[in-house]
Amino acid sequence: MSILVDQDSRILVQGITGKEGLFHAQQMLTFGTKVVAGVTPGKGGEWVLDGKVPVFDSVRMGVEVTGADTSVIFVPAKHAMDAILEAEAAGISVIICITEGIPIHDMMRVRSYLDNSQTRLIGPNSPGVLSPKQAKAGIIPGNIAIQGNIGVVSRSGTLTYEIVYALKHLGLGISTCVGIGGDPVIGTSFTDILEIFEADPFTEKVIMIGEIGGTEEEVAAEFIASQMTKPVYAYIAGETAPGDKRMGHAGAIIEYGIGSASTKTESLHDAGVIIAHHPEEIPQMIMKSLGLVGSDIDQ
């Protein structure tokens, strides 16, 4: 089935009257996810998306009126810290922050604060969470995946879509796909999600898509080696990335020689993870492990 969100999740969209917020709220609704409220300060009382979703001035009011439990944040970077803290204060249990470009000092303060909170933050700079037939909370296209038993966790967006889409073409389905975000400081780590997948009865295999920068994948490797029983497949993007240059994502940078793809790949390999050298190899490997030939369904 799914982790983090499911068909009962009641989604509140922060920044719902912005271009992006409105578009993706519509996509979520179309997918069948319960988008119960939107928040834009100063626009409380309006209704959007053909009168289907009420807009509130604050998350607190949205939660009080609609019972929202999950927030998806699309507000501009300079207001994102405030938006996260507002959601936490209103009692939201899962916050998914799509916003890219939040200052790292803001995120360090948010993280230090959330360390003592029950609220889970996914992202920022996350594409969100998608669980076929269950819920779409974020911007991952709803039609690229089918339901199944593979859990996917990734630091990136379109690269993940690519892999999930390739799985679908081979008839392989996913339980949940979680984008943890491409920023250097994020609320939920690879390890956190791997732990949840390990405990999730509906997930049988896990795909992990890392990239250069930081040492998160190395920490995840330690967790996999010591705690995980389910098979893990991994691809680390950025084998060809030069040092000291930020590759698009704020977090994708090799600094002081730390964070190269080869180090990560090596750690994961040593932890028993099956390593793919290019993304499309993963679906093929899974087919092989199932004793099936990796023939594309419709390509």
Binding site: A77, M108, R111, P184, M247, G248, G257, P279
Partner: protein, 380 residues
């Protein structure tokens, strides 16, 4: 965004961190004048945004005014790692009893600032980390509480700093934290912080990196950006809000999404080619943006072919196709293109490109193979 040594030191000084007396000079004559004003000996230091200045001849200790002029003219004429040297920092020479590394950066895993120090400074901290990891002291800072005095004193003890210097070291530590916070730094580093024979402490060299994402609230720092360290293409890319990094290969890449862009480069490499650049057009790019991106790629004379890989989610493939066509209207070099469009409006996009003379591919791996073959002159 990286600051020059002299810029970093200005900021240090404003925050109570002592620096040697010095001034910027941009001509040999000026260097001589400054040297005379400060009193000799002085050190001339090339202001370039790369490491390894010393080894590349960018630093010189001079003892007479004439020597200052002579050395300055040598250094100012040089380049270091391809970067021109526009300015010299002329500083009064200082005797050195001990060299300390002292910096703050962010620890990604912990999600907290981390203060790093070593009693064996003066060289790259990575080198100390490799050769003498026990000589590196690391202390996390709770960003909500700020750096605490006791933490700095703890560091002073660990690096065996003499007690009579604790007070000064505490002041410098607090100044460094102030710098780190006030200007949204991701790195604020003094290396070396020296103790002189007279027991004074000075920041002899410094580096500051600012979080690009925070520049919206650091307006007065934006002027400090040194565009000479960036290629005209990178400057142009930033104007269009594109992530672009030039590399040394011959296959241009145009991709939506940073992870997918890296994966595309990796695929090229696996297939035996070399990417000419990293380029992420971001999500939901307009045809204008795509067109600008493609023009930037094509401005690289090494380019033999371009691989365009789009996974349409918010990004519409037809919009991308339109951008490609616009750019190609001005493409006099007739560079061949391998194009893969998947997802939102992929069919419409492909149709638009039918008129052109492009190679299309289904999978990313196939696209990479075709691009490598094309670049090598193998007919696809």
């Amino acid at each position: 965004m990286k600051l020059h040594e002299y810029q970093s030191k200005q900021i240090f000084s404003r925050n109570g961190i002592p620096i040697p007396q010095g001034r910027l000079a941009s001509t040999p004559i000026e260097a001589k004048q400054v040297a005379e004003e400060l009193g000799l000996p002085v050190v001339l230091k090339a202001q370039v945004l790369v490491g390894g200045r010393g080894k590349a001849g960018g630093i010189s200790l001079v003892k007479t005014p004439d020597e200052a002029e002579e050395e300055a003219s040598k250094i100012l004429g040089n380049k270091i790692k391809g970067l021109p040297i526009r300015n010299l920092l002329v500083e009064k020479a200082i005797n050195i009893r001990q060299e300390i590394y002292f910096g703050i950066t962010n620890d990604r895993l912990a999600g907290k600032p981390i203060m790093i120090a070593s009693g064996e400074g003066g060289v790259d901290i990575e080198k100390i980390a490799c050769t003498r990891p026990d000589k590196i002291i690391k202390v996390h800072i709770n960003p909500l509480l700020g750096l605490r005095d006791f933490q700095v004193r703890g560091i002073a003890t660990e690096i065996n700093l003499q007690r009579e210097n604790w007070r000064k070291f505490l002041q410098i530590g607090k100044g460094l934290w102030q710098v780190f916070c006030d200007i949204d730094a991701t790195l604020a580093e003094i290396n070396p912080l020296v103790v002189t024979n007279e027991g004074h402490l000075f920041a002899i060299d410094g580096k500051i990196t600012i979080d690009d994402n925070a520049l919206f609230r650091q307006r007065d720092l934006i002027d400090m950006r040194d565009l000479s360290a960036e290629s005209p293409e990178e400057i142009k890319a930033r104007k269009f809000d594109l992530s672009y990094i030039r590399l040394s290969g011959n296959i241009g890449c145009l991709v939506n999404g940073a992870g997918l862009a890296m994966a595309t480069m990796d695929n090229i490499k696996i297939c035996g080619g070399e990417p000419a650049n990293f380029l992420d057009i971001g999500g939901g790019a307009s045809s204008e943006k795509v067109s600008a991106a493609l023009k930037i790629i094509l401005s690289d004379p090494n380019i033999k072919t371009v691989l365009i890989n789009i996974f349409g989610g918010i990004t519409r493939c037809d919009e991308v196709a339109r951008g490609i066509l616009t750019a190609l209207g001005n493409n006099n070099r007739n560079v061949p293109m391998v194009i893969r469009l998947v997802g939102t409006n992929a069919e419409e996009g492909k149709k638009l490109l039918l008129d052109g003379n492009q190679i299309t591919a289904n999978t990313l791996f196939e696209a990479a193979q075709l691009a490598v073959q094309t670049a090598k002159g193998v007919k696809a």
